[in-house]
């Protein structure tokens, strides 16, 4: 087929940032999938609750302390996380490197209270359906924290390598920050279900 040239694309930037980046949309789509997973866990929680004569079934409400500490840590982590995203947008390599180290530490620190959370539930996953769903919720979210932590560590290594100072990598840092925000926000309704609904 004959061609008729009507535009020249050579002046376009070599990588799109923000919503012009493919990984932004890919990350958003995966957050939608995982968000559905979290939403379904919450629906199952309330479904099982609606069938139970009392809730929690055969167990006291979970202890608040470890889960609340974890929640506070997650909420605090949003501030440096957003700063890292901002520095990535500004392509400030030095600050991004520092920020990723901070986020690695802040990504790892919730795992400490999380380890105590399981014991604070006062029920085993195999005791009854109540135990099964709250262990599943915690496990599902713990998986997300670990996954993002590994991603952050790899990204930090990358930013300290010769590949770091690159528009694509800065975009990756922004997307990683976006995903961490999702991990934090997804926790809040789970926290309400696990710790506060049994106290209603």
């Amino acid at each position: 087929m004959k061609e008729r040239v009507v535009a020249d694309l050579s002046k376009l930037p070599l990588h799109g940032l923000g919503s012009a980046s493919l990984t932004f949309w890919g990350t958003s789509a995966f957050m939608l999938i995982e968000g559905m997973g979290f939403a379904l866990a919450i629906v199952v929680y309330f479904y099982l609750m609606s069938l139970a004569p009392h809730w929690p079934i055969e167990a006291p409400a979970p202890d608040l302390l470890p889960g609340t500490i974890l929640t506070l840590l997650l909420l605090v982590s949003i501030v440096p996380n957003m700063l890292v995203a901002r520095w990535a947008k500004q392509r400030d390599l030095r600050k991004v490197r520092v920020g990723l180290i901070v986020m690695t530490l802040l990504g790892a620190s919730p795992l400490i209270p999380r380890a105590f959370e399981f014991r604070a539930l006062h029920i085993g996953w195999d005791d009854d359906a109540y135990g099964s769903i709250i262990w599943t919720m915690l496990g599902l979210h713990a998986t997300h924290i670990i996954t993002d932590l590994i991603d952050t560590i790899v990204l930090a290594c990358l930013m300290f390598s010769k590949h770091g100072d690159n528009a694509r990598r800065y975009g990756d840092v922004e997307d990683n920050a976006l995903y961490w925000n999702f991990v934090v926000l997804a926790w809040l309704p789970l926290y309400g279900c696990i710790y506060w609904v049994p106290r209603l």
């Binding site: 087929m1 004959k2 061609e3 008729r4 040239v5 009507v6 535009a7 020249d8 694309l9 050579s10 002046k11 376009l12 930037p13 070599l14 990588h15 799109g16 919503s19 012009a20 980046s21 493919l22 949309w25 890919g26 789509a29 995966f30 939608l32 999938i33 995982e34 559905m36 997973g37 379904l40 866990a41 199952v44 479904y47 099982l48 069938l51 139970a52 079934i57 996953w125 195999d126 005791d127 009854d128 359906a129 109540y130 135990g131 099964s132 769903i133 262990w135 599943t136 590994i150 790899v154 990358l158 590949h163 690159n166 528009a167 694509r168 990598r169």
Partner: protein
């Protein structure tokens, strides 16, 4: 190098330099060799692989159907045992839904969508490669289990408590549940690729109201996959947990609920029908438009009907549970919503009829299959309205009436259009035409065989023959119709045999196809058949909804993309305005290795929960290898 010693530039390509085009070809080509074949990220190669693999699963699933029909041809036959029959109907259904119907539609999209939106590769090509390998692994898992006589035997919807730890013996139900994980990971990955490709990689000028209907259909389908499939993953993961580590999700004695399974399964299962059907809407629209040589009537109503179908499909799941003893108010709501979905379906049918009425239809094989679809799907839709009614559903539930209904909907609604689509796009995919004569024979046999096979099942169902029975006593009045159905099934199989032989023969020996043998209007027909590795020499600029019919034999294009690295254009979501150039990843072995690592982890977790822990390390390593940039041109900016 050019004569002057410098590498060819975009300007050389624009000037028509063959050397520049050869340079571009080298940049995008997959090298030859076994390792390269495992490493390719070309959407066309992966798409063809996907389609071929899905059709192999169709053949295998069809053979199982014939085995079942032999068993049921006469009363009290001992062709296969009850246990084997249970495995076969389970694998048949699971295979057709999870290994054929959904993957083949996504595979068509993997091949066609980038071409139709005018880009050079799909978004996330390595994820695309990974999705194929993980799909293949899931399929092999199911079929190897059947070969080893350990296949799941609990039906394609694997109801608890039959599939639970109390009644589901051995590892059969675990195999089913983990096969689900494999195929869902694959389906979700492709869905993400499709969404991002359609949103961000469209050719300049392809605004939302210029997207081909097929691409719209795959976009809506991808969203259905994203929103529906987590439900089955949650359900099957909970089932594995119940069986492996003793959770109590589905155990009523400990606060669980068997109906929870049904709710989760059908929240996925009903949209699944539309995940299979909506791509067919796109296929039918493309074929009707081309073979009437006019734009499809009612572009906007068609698109809106697809979106409405997608939304409504989430409000139907309870009609699969009318006999489960749910509150009557809920049943009434789901009856109404089930019947309401006939409205967008009717809109689509009338748009197609109007296109046929107003055009000059040329009844080539693809259009014949579309006509077969229209007839068959309407009948299936009518019985669908019938089973949406609680009193009738209560009578025919779990009888052959339902078997007849869903085969009318699924084969009529998706397989007929799909076969038409293969005849239609085969020239583009292979560069060769299929035989028109064989196509007519295939259509005649498939259409006749289908109706002779499945229509009598309505009657068998009304006579009370239940589903999933491996035999029946001679005193019941079912023998005559069952024999008729079984014989007819071989006519249907004969039609498919003609189709497959024609496809295989044409692949090597069919007449050569030009770029646009049907005089179609969408962008995939602007490139040679089969397309070169880079798809488009220059990125097309879209100036109308039917770019090839409005182009006056010339295609508006944009220049300026580099020839020495795999560059794509990223465009805005609504208007299709170019925003950036983006490097597309090079071939890589890591997605293949990641699929192997994931497969080992998932299969290991059937036997030990610790497999998730130790299996996660190789997965993390392979994903890091996949993610880590090499010294390639994709990393430049």
């Amino acid at each position: 190098m050019t004569g002057s010693g410098r590498p060819p530039s975009p300007a050389d390509l624009a000037a028509g330099s063959e050397e520049a085009e050869a340079f571009l070809r080298r940049t995008w080509s997959t090298p030859s060799g076994f390792l390269a074949a495992l490493s390719t990220v070309d959407h066309k190669i992966i798409g063809r692989r996907y389609v071929a693999t899905a059709f192999v699963f169709l053949i295998l699933g069809g053979v199982l159907a014939l085995v079942m029909r032999i068993q049921l041809a006469f009363p009290e036959t001992r062709f296969i045992s009850a246990d084997r029959y249970n495995q076969i109907f389970t694998v048949h259904g699971s295979n057709m839904m999870f290994l054929f119907a959904v993957p083949v539609m996504e595979a068509m999209a993997v091949y066609l969508v980038p071409l139709m939106v005018g880009t050079r590769n799909i978004a996330f090509p390595r994820l695309n490669a990974f999705s194929y390998w993980i799909y293949l692994a899931g399929g092999l898992l199911l079929w190897i289990s059947l070969a080893l006589d350990t296949a799941p035997d609990v039906g394609w919807f694997s109801y608890v408590p039959l599939a639970g730890p109390q009644y589901g013996v051995g590892k059969r139900a675990d195999l089913w549940a983990q096969m689900i994980t494999f195929t869902e990971v694959s389906a979700l990955a492709v869905a993400v690729e499709i969404v991002v490709t359609v949103f961000k990689l469209r050719a300049p000028g392809m605004s939302l109201d210029r997207i081909p209907v097929f691409v719209w259909s795959m976009l809506v389908t991808a969203f259905l996959v994203i929103l529906a499939m987590p439900a089955i993953m949650f359900a099957s993961s909970s089932l594995i947990l119940d069986r492996l580590v003793g959770t109590q999700f589905y155990n009523p004695a400990e606060g669980g609920d068997v109906l929870l399974w049904q709710h989760l399964f059908w929240f996925f299962g009903h949209p699944e029908v539309y995940i299979i059907f909506l791509p067919a809407v796109g296929i039918v629209s493309a074929i009707i438009s081309t073979f009437t040589q006019r734009p499809v009537f009612g572009y906007m109503p068609l698109v809106l009907a697809m979106i409405a179908t997608g939304i409504l499909s989430f409000g139907l799941w309870v009609h699969h549970m009318f006999v489960a003893g749910l509150p009557r108010l809920g049943s009434s709501f789901f009856t109404a919503s089930s019947m309401a979905i006939a409205i967008p379906a009717g809109t689509q049918i009338f748009c197609w009829l109007a296109t046929l009425w107003d055009g000059r239809p040329v009844f080539k094989t693809p259009l014949l299959f579309v006509i077969g679809f229209l007839i068959t799907f309407v009948i299936g839709g009518l019985t669908g309205v019938m089973v949406a009614s609680v009193p009738l559903d209560s009578q025919v539930h779990d009888t052959y009436f339902v078997v007849a209904h869903f085969h009318y909907v699924l084969i009529g609604g998706s397989v007929f259009p799909l076969i038409g689509a293969i005849y239609y796009w085969f020239p583009k995919m292979t560069g060769r035409m299929m035989s028109e004569r064989s196509g007519r024979w295939a259509f005649g046999l498939i259409f006749t065989g289908f109706h002779l096979t499945f229509f009598p099942m309505h009657i068998l169902g009304l006579q009370g023959m239940p589903r999933r029975v491996y035999t029946y006593p001679p005193e019941l009045p079912w023998a005559g119709l069952n024999l008729f159905v079984s014989l007819s099934a071989f006519i249907l199989a004969g039609g498919f045999l003609v189709f497959f032989i024609d496809a295989l023969r044409s692949f090597r020996h069919g007449p050569r196809a030009g770029p646009n043998p049907w005089n179609a209007s969408t962008l995939e027909w602007a490139v040679p058949s089969p397309p070169p590795p880079y798809n488009f020499r220059h990125i097309p600029v879209v100036e109308s909804r039917e770019p090839l019919w409005m182009s006056d034999e010339t295609l508006a294009v944009a220049t300026g993309l580099r020839l020495d690295r795999r560059e794509l254009i990223v465009s805005s979501v609504t208007a299709g305005e170019p925003e950036a150039r983006e490097a597309s990843p090079a071939d890589s072995i890591w997605p293949f290795l990641a699929a192997i690592a994931t497969g080992i982890m998932l299969i290991g977790s059937i036997f030990s929960p610790w497999a998730v822990v130790w299996g996660a390390a190789p997965v993390a390593i392979t994903l890091t290898g996949w993610f880590w940039p090499k010294q390639t041109r994709e990393d430049e900016s």
